[in-house]
């Protein structure tokens, strides 16, 4: 009997290893922003179906993406908050930002009947500062004539993890509200004056859907895929803009710097939606670190090229904005600058 047990045990041990010998294929690991996760999961699923290359992307938040990249635990990070000059200087090697798509951050809420509501920058800031506490507050009713607001408290939902969506949102609030800038500031994780935290864009959307009376910020696609309302937001020119891929693309029509690190919140475009941004994939410029193979580096570069070109067709159906022409040109240049042992990978 003992012999049998040993045999069974051994076969258990050996089975995975024999499988390992067969499947010796390049597998890329990425982690970070939850903002583009629906898009990435679609992209990488199709990439696997067509090329057989597995790309494992875990939506742990933009902060996590940057941290895991600097810890060298992933091949690429995803972030909708670009790294500051200071953070880049601290990194052990040069990190590149490759823009993948545009996304809008929307205010979504859970009210009886879910009417389409309008918001001004000040109202948004005061809700998140905890100064407007009820849905039937005068200031909300004033800009939304004709909508009957219930007499219930506003429950704010924010992210509990380090998030690029939070970065975009707080960057916007800091630009439009002096008080927010002084009290809270902007960042991937901030000290929230009010509200409940939830993990990831999925967590925030899930909680808002779950609890009536809530309001929170999330990526446009998450709201639309879940048939949740998205508030119209007043831009610099005093127009209320419906969040959409088109309106956020219009806002992105500003000259981009060569490293593409730019926020487009509260942008100048007359018809542009003021609360949106790029989402980036972060990689090291020199790929020959930590004994990585040339093969792996090449696959990564090929993937990035594919994401910024062919894969752009997946953006619109999932409510993300395609890369504008100028952003794609800059992305191409950045991808071409990736090197392995000093030699460019892509000519």
């Amino acid at each position: 009997m003992g012999k049998h047990l040993v045999a069974i045990f051994l076969s258990f041990i050996l089975m995975p290893w024999s499988a390992l010998a067969v499947a010796k294929q390049v597998e890329l690991v990425g982690a970070g922003a939850t903002f583009p996760y629906p898009l990435y999961s679609k992209m990488f699923y199709s990439y696997w179906k067509t090329t057989g290359i597995k790309v494992n992307y875990q939506p742990i938040g933009s902060g996590g993406g940057i941290r895991q990249l600097t810890n060298l635990t992933v091949d690429f990070g995803g972030s909708d908050a670009f790294m500051s000059d200071e953070a880049l200087a601290k990194a052990q090697a040069k990190i590149l930002h490759i823009p993948i798509c545009l996304g809008a951050v929307v205010l979504t809420y859970n009210l009886p009947g879910n009417p389409e509501i309008k918001c001004t920058p000040n109202v948004v800031a005061d809700i998140f500062l905890g100064k407007i506490r009820r849905w039937n507050d005068k200031r909300i009713e004033e800009i939304n004539p004709g909508i009957k607001f219930p007499k219930i408290d506003i429950m704010v939902i924010h992210r509990s993890d380090g998030s690029g969506t939070t970065f975009v949102f707080t960057d916007y609030l800091a630009k439009v509200s002096k008080e927010w800038d002084g009290k809270v500031g902007s960042g991937k994780a901030v000290n929230w004056p009010v509200g409940l935290g939830a993990k990831g864009n999925t967590g925030v959307t899930g909680l808002i859907k779950h609890l009536p009376g809530t309001v929170g910020y999330t990526e446009l696609g998450y709201a639309l895929l879940n048939r949740m309302p998205a508030a119209l937001l007043m831009n610099k020119h005093g127009r209320f803009i419906t969040p959409s891929t088109a309106s956020v693309t219009r806002a992105a029509a500003v000259p981009l710097p060569n490293d593409t690190r730019l926020t487009i919140t509260n942008a100048d475009a007359p018809d542009g939606y003021p609360l949106g941004g790029f989402t980036w994939v972060l990689v090291y410029r020199e790929q020959a670190y930590k004994k990585r193979s040339m093969e792996k580096a090449t696959e990564l570069v090929k993937l990035l090229w594919w994401m910024t070109h062919e894969a752009q067709r997946y953006t619109e159906p999932l409510h993300y904005g395609q890369l504008p022409e100028q952003a794609r040109e800059k992305a191409e240049k950045i991808i071409k600058s990736i090197i392995y042992d000093g030699e460019p990978i892509l000519q």
């Binding site: 941290r67 993890d161 000290n191 409940l196 935290g197």
Partner: protein
């Protein structure tokens, strides 16, 4: 290995036998030592990695309620309060039930189908993974709590300290019950019989003889259940609301030490941020350790007395 009694009569085998003997003994002691080393290493690792935050914040870490990643200032008061509040509330809710179960199985129905059903079911309850409690709590319990809050006219979060405590109490009932049951069963029958012979009713024997006698043991069981509740992560994370603001009532959302680690560990950017989270882990470890020691000590004393 297989034919052990057919050792060949060779001169060699004797020394080999001795060698095997020594090797065997050594293996045993090394494994025992390994566990000790493992635990020490865990403690030291936590200590070393939390030293940046220990140095930077010192004692203020315990009393400050600012958890501000933007300006890199960290204090864990909110999480201590969250952990203590949920755990004690959970114990309070669980105590009548666990006590009833232990009296039921330990005294009233020592044998028979009823008690065996109850025993099996509580053991099953202990076996359900924490994440499933959280899932169920989020979809069933949270709406109920929300309705309650609406009736009471409080901001209806649904998620919060109360929801977390309720889920926790369901989770720790089996632990508290199983230890109390053992202690109650240990109460010597002669003192119980002495009570009956004086004409006491069963209720009087239970409340005036058994419970006082088993009191410290029941407390130990409750303490060990508390240890479990303190470290429970997933179920709590899913229903507590993850808010880093000091809770002002049991309906407020909050965050516990374990849930803040689960939420923020992978994305903590910056050395101090990560180290603060590890310090919370270290404290969690130390608290669990202390509670376990006290609990085990009491149980040991009780079982020696019995």
């Amino acid at each position: 290995m297989a034919n052990l009694f057919s050792s060949k009569p060779k001169v060699l085998s004797r020394t080999r036998g001795l060698w095997a003997e020594a090797a065997f003994q050594k293996t045993l002691s090394i494994s025992a030592l390994a566990i000790l080393v493992l635990l020490t290493a865990i403690f030291l690792s936590l200590l070393i990695h939390s030293s940046p935050s220990l140095k930077a914040f010192g004692l203020t870490f315990f009393f400050s309620q600012t958890w501000d990643p933007v300006s890199s200032r960290f204090g864990a008061l909110v999480f201590f309060v969250g952990t203590l509040l949920t755990s004690f509330l959970a114990l309070l809710i669980c105590l009548p039930f666990s006590l009833a179960i232990s009296i039921f199985i330990g005294e009233y129905f020592r044998e028979g189908i009823l008690s065996s059903i109850l025993k099996q079911v509580t053991e099953l309850l202990a076996g359900i993974p924490s994440v499933i409690y959280g899932f169920w709590g989020l979809f069933v319990l949270v709406p109920i709590v929300r309705d309650l809050e609406i009736k009471l006219g409080i901001l209806p979060h649904g998620v919060g300290i109360l929801a977390a405590s309720l889920i926790l109490s369901v989770m720790v009932i089996p632990y508290a019950a199983s230890i109390s049951r053992e202690v109650i069963a240990l109460v010597p029958s002669d003192i119980k019989e002495a009570g009956y012979s004086l004409g006491a009713t069963r209720q009087e024997v239970v409340t005036k003889i058994i419970l006082p006698y088993a009191g410290s043991g029941i407390m130990a069981g409750t303490l060990l259940a508390l240890g479990r509740a303190l470290g429970e992560t997933m179920a709590v994370t899913m229903v507590i609301g993850n808010s880093n603001i000091l809770p002002h009532s049991i309906f407020s959302p909050g965050n516990t030490m374990a849930s803040v680690i689960a939420n923020e560990f992978t994305e903590a950017t910056g050395r101090l941020y990560l180290s603060s989270l590890i310090e919370i882990g270290l404290l969690l470890f130390l608290v669990a350790l202390t509670i376990n020691f006290i609990g085990r000590y009491i149980i040991k004393k009780v079982s020696i007395r019995a």
